[in-house]
């Protein structure tokens, strides 16, 4: 197994709720590791805290408790950290400045981080970046403004910008969910290549567990601020152990489905201001036990790199 590049240990983040209504317990005790040359997926529904985890790992804000380690060490200084860990956001229409050309978006981080020797060198590096994200011929794209590009092309510019500082880890927060179906694939392939060829450690955050099956080596599933299950992508999607992961898999649209899923109503994710006690999934869980509402389940290792947080992990389910 390749080396651990980025690691979050027991990350917890509470936000103050508006007008003194207590705190939003967005992320609770999350530990996650990213390895060089490998794509790790973090899957969950909206509001489950996956974007908060992304920002904690990128040190956009500090955790309430827990720590983020880069190659086993704490990194001091925002700029030094940003040189190594970069973020890609969901909305390429919002993340590029509409007044600046592609060249500026890519050259700026290189200048800030001191990679540029001269103007000619800058041009060369920008061309190289565009080449890497397949925006060719590069001359055609260099002087374009964001509104002249399609969504997929914009997202490629955002990826090139993240690569400009030569990071070791890339955190992609729903990088394709705003793009059209027919161009998602190309962007995901590009991210996959970057991990394969450049040895980047990549965190792919998504609500779409089917795409995680195809593009990630490992999948970690999150629910209401907590991690609930993790394992190799294929094993996890084909034989999930946690009832929530099963629900997620059963709910995803799938024209190949053999049996019609059941018609019970499943309720909605809980409020994170006053999350349910014990396992946060217990009010919606079809197989909940009395213990589920009183105690948080610990981590059960299932072998082959798989683990889950469930009181019934030992096989009673399924």
């Amino acid at each position: 197994m390749s080396a651990v590049v980025l690691e979050g240990r027991n990350l917890t983040k509470h936000f103050k709720a508006a007008r003194g209504r207590g705190s939003v317990r967005a992320v609770e005790d999350v530990s996650l590791t990213l390895r060089a040359g490998s794509v790790t997926a973090l899957v969950g529904e909206s509001g489950c805290g996956k974007s908060t985890v992304a920002r904690l790992l990128a040190q956009v804000y500090p955790p309430t408790s827990g720590e983020v380690l880069l190659r086993g060490e704490k990194v001091k200084g925002f700029r030094e950290y940003r040189r190594q860990v970069q973020l890609i956001f969901q909305d390429p229409f919002a993340s590029l400045n509409p007044f600046h050309r592609v060249r500026y978006h890519l050259a700026r981080p290189m200048r800030v981080h001191g990679h540029v020797r001269s103007d000619a060198h800058e041009r060369e590096l920008v061309a190289e970046l565009l080449e890497r994200v397949s925006l060719t011929p590069v001359e055609q794209f260099m002087d374009k403004l964001p509104h002249e590009l399609s969504g997929g092309q914009r997202q490629r510019v955002a990826i090139a910008r993240a690569l400009a500082v030569r990071p070791v880890a890339l955190i992609a927060d729903e990088p394709v969910s705003m793009l059209d179906v027919s161009i998602r694939l190309g962007v995901l392939r590009l991210l996959e290549e970057l991990a394969d060829d450049s040895g980047l450690a990549l965190l792919y955050i998504t609500h779409d567990i089917a795409s995680a099956r195809y593009f990630a080596e490992d999948i970690t599933v999150m629910y209401a601020g907590r991690l609930i299950e993790s394992g190799p992508a294929e094993a996890l999607t084909q034989a999930a152990r946690h009832p929530y992961t099963r629900l997620l898999l059963d709910s995803a649209p799938d024209p190949d489905r053999v049996t019609r899923p059941d018609r019970t109503r499943h309720g909605e994710p809980p409020s994170l201001v006053s999350p349910p006690s014990g396992c946060r999934f217990h009010p919606r869980c079809p197989v909940a036990l009395p213990v589920c509402s009183s105690e948080v389940p610990g981590r059960t290792d299932l072998g082959d790199g798989r683990w889950t947080h469930c009181w019934q992990a030992d096989g009673a389910v399924g």
């Binding site: 529904e45 909206s46 399609s150 969504g151 997929g152 092309q153 059209d180 179906v181 027919s182 161009i183 998602r184 694939l185 190309g186 392939r189 609500h207 779409d208 567990i209 089917a210 795409s211 099956r213 195809y214 593009f215 294929e234 999607t237 084909q238 629900l247 997620l248 898999l249 059963d250 709910s251 995803a252 649209p253 799938d254 024209p255 190949d256 489905r257 053999v258 899923p261 018609r263 109503r265 499943h266 909605e268 994710p269």
Partner: protein, 323 residues
Amino acid sequence: MNVMEVRGLGVDYLSSSGAVHAVADVSLDLRRGEILGLAGESGSGKSTLAHAIGRLLRPPATITGGSVTYHRPDGPAVDVLKLKREELRAFRWRELAVVFQSAMNSLNPVSTVGAQIDDVLRIHVPDLPRKARTERSVELLQRVGISADRRRSYPHELSGGMRQRAAIAIALALNPEIIIMDEPTTALDVVVQRDILHEIRALREEYGFAVMFITHDLSLLMEISDRIAIMYAGRVVETGTARALHQAPRHPYTLGLLRSFPRLHGPREELLGIPGTPPDLRSLPPGCAFHPRCRFAFHACDSTLPQLDPDVACLLNEGKGVR
């Protein structure tokens, strides 16, 4: 038995740099009680088409031609595009209702959901007594899975899924023949989405309305729809039953879409995707708009515009090209 027929419909967006043909020569049938899926990427014209059918377009959009005929269950056919203001008021909600993507924007934020259902009933059925209206509101909300005490809630007090359920309840209030659903579940989580799709199917069984279900998510459409129409660059390029499209797509674009999204079950198929990007409607490629991205394109594709004949608009299927 068709409840609505669209024939040769065209919609342009007028701008200073010329007209953009958002919908071009679209013909579609909506059968009574069926769920017709309308799939396409952004800019394919699917929402514009739905808005045109509901007479909801605003300038700079203009209808340039064609007709939309609505067949009352027991009355004469109506040309929707020629309805006058007052007739249109009666037509909407009672015969055709619309559910939009963002229920937060389509519900009135300063009025409770109960009051909003009450509004529809009060205006369209003036002689219904207040007590009966309240009973009907409660019944509708319960029917879509919202408890009666939520009648007094404001939209912001409901979750996204509940808001969408409330919007569906309002659409059902007058038992319309047609409900247009424009990306009704796109903003929702998959679990909530699944529950609402079941709800829509169950309600359809019960009330017998026809649904035009618009989304970019083809895998979702294949599960919920009876028939599907695929749109590309303002035109319908293929129609067929969900099953036929799933098992034997005939248009290369449909095939490309099907091979673009990862599957959850079964072996890990190779994903082919579709090269290139969706076209700019201001400068469409000549001939078939899909030909620059088509892996089967041949010499005639950049000059001849294929017609929908009868289920697919592709020259390959007219015996003129390679198989």
